[in-house]
């Protein structure tokens, strides 16, 4: 497997873990995401040994839930972020965090490869934009995601390219609902 560089490559790795329990693909995911997840956990307040333990649990979830990963809804980085965020909260609350109901389709549903690629490219662009934000705005976003400031204080006017991602995911949801004939409410 070639050296992964972007979201589209990581999708291949997660699929390999899901379909063939590929340990070398998992190791590549671990080497890249493990230290970043641990860094995120430490910066959001967990002490080092707890962050290490929590990170290992997050990576165990990546292995176990690989078949649930849906590239039409999230990039690999986003998916792993939500696992880490939920694991951290569960740990702090000692109870399971309420999560939205999964949409009623499995990984078998037909996905438009082109749309998946575009979503992944959008998130790559988002990451580039985040890195290029003026330090003050980037700090604000980071502090919000590290749980440092309350949701009331979060200014969303950072100019990050979220509009296209929103409409792309919206489109993917609509298409799948149409295919499955499932209503949004009830």
């Amino acid at each position: 497997m070639k050296n992964p560089k972007d979201a589209a490559d990581w999708i291949v790795h997660i699929k390999a873990v899901a379909q063939t329990r590929d340990q070398s693909a998992f190791k590549a995911l671990f080497v890249y995401f493990g230290p970043r997840v641990k860094s995120f956990l430490m910066r959001s307040g967990l002490e080092e040994s707890l962050a290490e333990e929590c990170m290992q649990e997050v990576m165990v979830s990546v292995w176990r839930k690989a078949h649930l990963f849906d590239p039409s809804k999230a990039s690999p980085g986003t998916w792993i972020f939500t696992i880490a965020r939920n694991r951290k909260i569960d740990l702090l609350r000692k109870s399971s965090r309420p999560e939205p109901e999964d949409l009623p389709w499995g990984p078998e549903a037909q996905k438009d490869q082109h749309e998946i690629l575009e979503l992944q490219q959008d998130t790559d662009r988002l990451r580039e934009a985040l890195v290029k934000l003026p330090q003050k705005q980037r700090d604000l976003v980071e502090r919000a995601f590290l749980g440092d400031i309350s949701h009331k204080e979060i200014a969303t006017e950072t100019g990050l390219p979220l509009g296209t991602i929103k409409s792309r995911i919206r489109l993917a949801i609509e298409r799948l609902r149409h295919e499955l004939g499932v209503e949004a409410t009830r």
Partner: protein, 218 residues
């Protein structure tokens, strides 16, 4: 058709994991009913993903990967493949996060009367200042006139109510702040069931509701 949408700050707070447990519950419940909110939430979560990837990697334990593999192999292989296709409950009144939280659907709730046919059930533990409660208001009945010292978020689960801001039906969400004094009245079509989260106690106007508030700890 959902016409009243959730605020960006609540969605971003949920994405960041910065909300209290009762707010997590109401946001997850609303997102389960509203595709628009789901797409907006995903966009905010992708900011979290971008941030995660931009993290400067820190040192991990030298045996970190082996330990993780041990954790994976140590457990009995769980058949998670069919997890995602668990039978949904298309006719449930409560969205899944709320069903999981209270351990059942509407029929599992033990209500406490608040007077005038209005009933409530507190669903979150009282250790937090924020509280999530279910309210049941009979058709055509008004909620006692109240203001609040903090945020009040209401999600309609069944029936509808009307207040100064419009008509709110299943899936609609209303976010009121302390400036708002509103008197929701249940639609005449049937009783109205709502999930309500307040991050500070409600303030009732009038003597009798104040007494009721003391006794019933609403």
């Amino acid at each position: 058709m959902i016409t009243h949408h959730i605020t960006d700050s609540l969605l971003m707070g949920y994405a960041a994991g910065a909300l209290s447990e009762p707010l997590d519950l109401i946001v997850a419940s609303h997102v389960s009913l509203c595709d628009d909110a789901r797409a907006r939430l995903s966009a905010y979560e992708s900011v979290g993903g971008a941030m995660l990837e931009a993290e400067t990697p820190v040192d991990i334990a030298h045996d970190s990967f082996d330990k993780t593999l041990q954790l994976i192999m140590g457990d009995a292989p769980t058949d998670t493949v069919h997890e995602a296709v668990k039978a949904p409950m298309p006719h449930a009144v409560f969205p899944k996060p709320l069903r999981d939280y209270v351990g059942g659907d509407l029929d599992s709730i033990r209500w406490r009367p608040l007077g005038f046919g209005v009933k409530q059930a507190v669903v979150t533990p009282r250790r937090e200042t924020a509280v999530a409660r279910l309210l049941s208001i009979p058709a055509g009945q008004a909620m006692p006139d109240h203001g609040h010292s903090g945020l009040e978020v209401t999600l309609v689960l069944e029936g509808a109510y009307i207040d100064a801001n419009g008509r709110f039906a299943r899936g609609d969400i209303e976010v009121a702040t302390e400036e708002d004094e509103h008197t929701p009245v249940a639609d005449i079509g049937g009783e109205c069931i709502c999930l309500v989260v307040t991050d500070a106690p409600l303030r009732f106007n009038g003597v009798i509701p104040k007494v009721a508030q003391k006794i019933l700890r609403i």
